[in-house]
Symmetry: C2
Subunit: 338 residues, 2 copies
Amino acid sequence: MRFETSTIKDIAKALGLSTSTVSRALRDRYEISEETKKLVLAYAEKVNYRANPIARSLKERRSYSIGIIASEIANNFFSQVINGIESIAYDKDYHVIISQSHESYKQEKLNVEHLASRSIDGLLIALSSETQDIDYLRDLYTKGLPIVFFDRVPEDFETHKVIANNFKGSFDATEHLILSGKRTIAHLTNSENLSITKERLKGYKAALVKYHIEFRPELVKYCQHGGMHSAELEQAVKELLPLQPDGIFISSDRLTTGCIMALKKTNPEVAHKIAIAGFTNSNLVELFSPSLTSVKQPAFEMGQVATELLISMIEAKRPITEFETRILDTELVKMPKH
Amino acid sequence: MRFETSTIKDIAKALGLSTSTVSRALRDRYEISEETKKLVLAYAEKVNYRANPIARSLKERRSYSIGIIASEIANNFFSQVINGIESIAYDKDYHVIISQSHESYKQEKLNVEHLASRSIDGLLIALSSETQDIDYLRDLYTKGLPIVFFDRVPEDFETHKVIANNFKGSFDATEHLILSGKRTIAHLTNSENLSITKERLKGYKAALVKYHIEFRPELVKYCQHGGMHSAELEQAVKELLPLQPDGIFISSDRLTTGCIMALKKTNPEVAHKIAIAGFTNSNLVELFSPSLTSVKQPAFEMGQVATELLISMIEAKRPITEFETRILDTELVKMPKH
DNA sequence: AAAAAGTGTGCAAACGTTCCCAAAAACGTT
DNA sequence: AACGTTTTTGGGAACGTTTGCACACTTTTT
């Protein structure tokens, strides 16, 4: 804000002290006598003194801000993650700058670079479904920018990561479809290069194996753009239906809602005949028709954990050598009676 | 970021120039010769020079950041507004800090004050449904913080505002219910003090008048917390149903989805018998059951317009005396056949 | 030929902090 | 009475920019 606010200098002048004394008194340093501290604090209170965070940042060479790259905030999974992030960041006096990749690699890179030039102290990122080349992140990381990945994480990048138990979540969802009598279960999933895609595919396969159901590759459809284009989804649905699946397991939030829409739009007559299970954190899932079984990720907690890890990296005195990958359990919310 | 980056000083030293010359060359000032400019620009490019935004902010006494207060980003209306805001802000080189009030006055005030202390250059705000006292905003405003209101605006505050045509949107929705044969139309709405509540109530009443339907106050239910607590909604539904409405017109996004949920939960047998029309920007509305007629606000555009107005205030050389209230048209999306 | 105007550059202060270093004040010890 | 210690304070540089002003040098005008 450009409007006049009192500064340390003003306080110093008013009290006949030096700026250094005032600064130290405000930060409650041991060197300053109780008397002086009280004096300064009282006066600061009186004139409603607020430290200028920009000056502080310049001096301390850090901004107390962390950047977030999510696919899109309109997606409940990400908005919940963000809430988790904020709950921790706020406590520790960081603020948060949110960017959306909209599942585009180009946009993601642009945003990261914009954030970096904005002097963020650290980065929380879920990779876009298009992203394959993460060298630009590696660059920033080796230059000293702390990075923590969540949800969509790269394999070959040594840092903290926070993910859901994708294998188990997928296994449970697929098993649930099988146990309700489905035998031809399609799998609609994200772009092949995402970590979540691979892990969720494994869970799906494992459930099939357990119940001696043959895995048929043609029942698996990948969506390069993660469901951001409806044409992509409609195409996938169109290719899947001739195989007459009696169940579909869908691998992410946007895909789940998008797939149901595509089904309803292109083949309303079968939409209610196919059992659907999918990853989604939508808080409107109870309203959906057809209804579905959903795998909910612990999104809020994921944001919290990722932020704690990131801040620990930012504030670490010595370089970190031990990194962890936290795996959080998902929750299966079964479809109400059909 | 704390890692080494080159500064103007480094460039100056390397090129045997003064920092002022380099600074001016980079900003393409007329005083500097073409020759020198080229030299500086080339070298800056080579060392990948990025101006330090913090230093710049300190010197210029502005942060190139704008604050947003929304109810919650999980709400599609707000996420769309934010997308609109970002589209403009990004272009003009501002960045955006998002805060959520979760419809709580206390949280809203806290967030605004936090943002203000973070040196934002301007504020975009939609009031929480609890908010009645906006003196704290007035304070900041008179101290020089530019503020633009969107969606939920105060009456007695002279600044730019951007709203939807709430009257017409409500009128249209109510009329649509009437034209499809409904005569006992309830109105579920937000807290009484919000601007949108008042305007939408007027539209509802006007439609009743046009079709000679008596206005019955007991058919109007207010929700102080804007649908953030499910208990509040269930209570409202419980009070409404004995009056046997054949239609409900609902006045905001969160309330619309919340009301349908409450209906389904508490009275599933009637849920499909009541025609519902409501304000919502949910992009999942096609999936809902029961289906509904929705009034969509031009959220993206609202964000854009608000941001343009705000930036014009921030960058104005002289105090602004003429303020405008922009009113944007809503769109009625009719329910598919029942 | 001198004065005026124009062009290109550098010096140094300022933005509001933090923190190293020194200095002053208060106290105790011989 | 002289000297250490400890406690408390102040001076001033630094963080990386921007910008008013002064200066030197050219060119134009009278």
